[in-house]
């Protein structure tokens, strides 16, 4: 398999809101088989870039493609069907659904059960739900959340809610996984567990992108890092290269209080 073609690419992505330029013509490439870090101070445009890639925002300029196929104009749902999924910086779980069901939503779109199954106790719908529940439990188990499957998100501490959101993103075996600050709100031991999980998730088929303010996490798991500042890529390369880049050091010393 040609790993180079299985990449999510953005070329010349420019996004502005009412004259305020949020992204200023970015070129990014997130390759399968790699964990790519996306770092930068608050307001740099990291989440906005995710929103462009997933179709929540339509950038005014630029081309977005996955495995050579153009994604511009495709709605978020269609991009999800291509295996491009994300987690949200602000936890976006449904409070009315149990933890397990929240994770099941991550694969619900692949279901074959129709409206009759939705209202009547037909064998196909029941079987499908059991299969989805099993997949969800497997994803929850990977994150050490199996025993809270029956609970509701509101009953869990914020750190755990974040992990549930990651479980929802990974349960469908995505080809591109965009994680927006997965470690925010996690304590040290939870962050260590998360690091292990993310390493375990990494595979030759998966392009993983991590937006994160926790530098230790980013430096330890990422193969490559993009540094974003005011909507521009100011540096990119291996963790060592980025760490020793004087621009990056300046940006991060300048915004130390953010962490």
């Amino acid at each position: 398999m040609d790993l180079m073609t299985n990449a999510l690419r953005g070329e010349g992505i420019a996004l502005s809101f009412g004259g305020i330029k949020v992204l200023k013509g970015l070129d990014v490439e997130f390759r399968a088989g790699e964990i790519t870090g996306l770092i930068g101070p608050n307001g740099a445009g990291k989440t906005s870039l995710f929103n462009c890639l997933t179709g929540a925002y339509s950038p005014q300029q630029g081309a977005i493609s996955y495995a050579g196929e153009a994604l511009n104009g495709l709605p978020p749902a269609a991009r999800a069907n291509k295996g491009i999924v994300r987690s949200f910086q602000h936890v976006a779980l449904c409070p009315d659904l149990t933890v397990r069901e929240n994770v099941m939503v991550g694969i619900a779109r692949n279901g074959k059960s129709g409206w009759l199954d939705a209202f009547l106790p037909l064998p196909r719908g029941i079987r499908e739900r059991e299969e989805m529940a099993r997949s969800a439990d497997a994803a929850l188990a990977d994150l050490g959340l199996l025993d809270v499957g029956e609970r509701f998100p509101g009953e869990l501490p914020p750190g755990m809610q974040r992990l549930v959101e990651i479980a929802r993103a990974v349960v469908g075996k995505p080809s591109v996984l965009l994680l927006d600050e997965p470690a925010a709100g996690l304590n040290n031991s939870e962050t260590r567990d998360l690091t292990k999980v993310l390493r375990k998730l990494a595979s030759t088929e998966l392009a993983m992108v991590v937006v994160e303010h926790d530098m230790d996490l980013v430096m330890s798991i990422c193969d490559r890092i993009y540094v974003l500042n005011f909507g521009e890529i100011v540096a990119s390369g291996s963790p060592e290269e980025v760490r020793s880049n004087p621009d990056v050091v300046r940006i991060y010393l300048g915004s130390d209080e953010d962490d």
Partner: protein
């Protein structure tokens, strides 16, 4: 009001879950059993009123479902109940066809018109959508009178064809409504566990997240309006059969308001117990108050206010009590 539904206080969330667990299964089964034997103990007029109460409960459920799964408020559901009621009335009086065919037709029409309404209004939310549904409700009596060759105009229609020949009509009017109510409640309980139902709930609370996992907003809106419209039409069908007459007076704008009020006083509950409370409110309160003449609207308003205040403070009172018992 949709705000109230989507952002429940923690106390209310816990309460609704506790009551959800308690009313599912055993409580519901006992309740159904009691309702089945009820006609043995009650006189004809009570049976008639209870039949109407069951039918109205279905309408309350239709409105509550829209709130719970769509996050939207309708003050126009009489449009759908009228569709269902006239399906039954017209097929009965013009063709002598009974519920076997008219209930499925009602469901079909309700879903169809739910979708037809949802498409042009798909980008409206909150008060804007509510006002649009209001237009539906206001149009209903006019439309009924326009098609008076079919609908019988102001006079209305009389539904007389039995559902199951040989059984006394008064009992049929009771049991058919009860049967439809239980059936709809069971179907709605299943929806909660289906992939479509879960997707709808996520779309209601977080449209961006639903989008990111393959649920389009337009799909969500069309689906919930179709479902709610279909259930509304079943309510109408049950009303027509249990009430035995179908006339424009049953589908006024006020009736649409009553359905919403019933939904509010049952706290948008979807369990049998809850929708029965709402249905009883819609059916019984106007009847009980009709003895008080000019005071009806005031008393109705007070009764409504009482229910809402109770619903608002009950969870807090319970929370306080449970905190006290924990401390003790």
């Amino acid at each position: 009001m949709s705000d109230h539904a989507t952002h429940l206080a923690p106390g209310q969330v816990i309460l609704s879950r506790l009551s959800g667990v308690a009313t599912s299964g055993l409580t519901t089964a006992i309740l159904v059993a009691v309702l089945i034997v009820m006609p043995v103990m009650l006189g004809g007029s009570w049976i008639f009123t209870l039949g109407l109460c069951f039918a109205n409960s279905i309408g309350v459920l239709a409105v509550s479902l829209l709130v719970r799964y769509g996050g939207e408020v309708s003050i126009g559901h009489t449009f759908f109940t009228a569709l269902g009621a006239y399906s039954v009335g017209v097929l009965d009086t013009s063709y002598g066809i009974s519920l076997w065919a008219s209930v499925p037709l009602a469901l079909l029409l309700g879903v169809m018109f739910g979708l037809l309404f949802a498409w042009p209004s798909r980008n409206l939310h909150g008060i804007y959508l509510a006002v649009t549904t209001l237009a539906l409700a206001l149009a209903v009596p006019e439309m009924i009178n326009n098609f008076d060759t079919l609908t019988g105009g102001y006079e209305g229609l009389y539904v007389a064809t039995p559902f199951i020949p040989g059984i006394e009509m008064g009992l049929q009017r009771y049991y058919v409504a009860l049967f439809l109510l239980v059936l709809v409640c069971l179907a709605v309980a299943r929806l909660r566990r289906s992939r479509q139902g879960m997707a709808l709930l996520l779309a209601k609370t977080n449209a961006a997240a639903a989008d990111a996992f393959g649920t389009r907003r337009v799909w969500a809106r069309l689906s919930i309006m179709g479902i709610s419209g279909g259930i509304g039409a079943i309510c109408g069908a049950a009303l027509a059969f249990s009430g035995s007459t179908v006339s424009p007076g049953g589908f006024t704008f006020w009736q649409a308001i009553f359905l919403l009020v019933g939904s509010v006083v049952s706290f948008y509950g979807l369990s049998l117990t809850r929708v029965l409370i709402g249905g009883a409110f819609v059916t019984l309160v106007p009847q009980l108050l009709s003895a008080s003449g000019a005071w009806i609207p005031v008393l109705y308003g007070l009764a409504l206010l009482g229910m809402i205040l109770l619903g608002h403070y009950l969870p807090r009172i319970r929370e306080m009590m449970s905190r006290k018992s924990e401390a003790a």
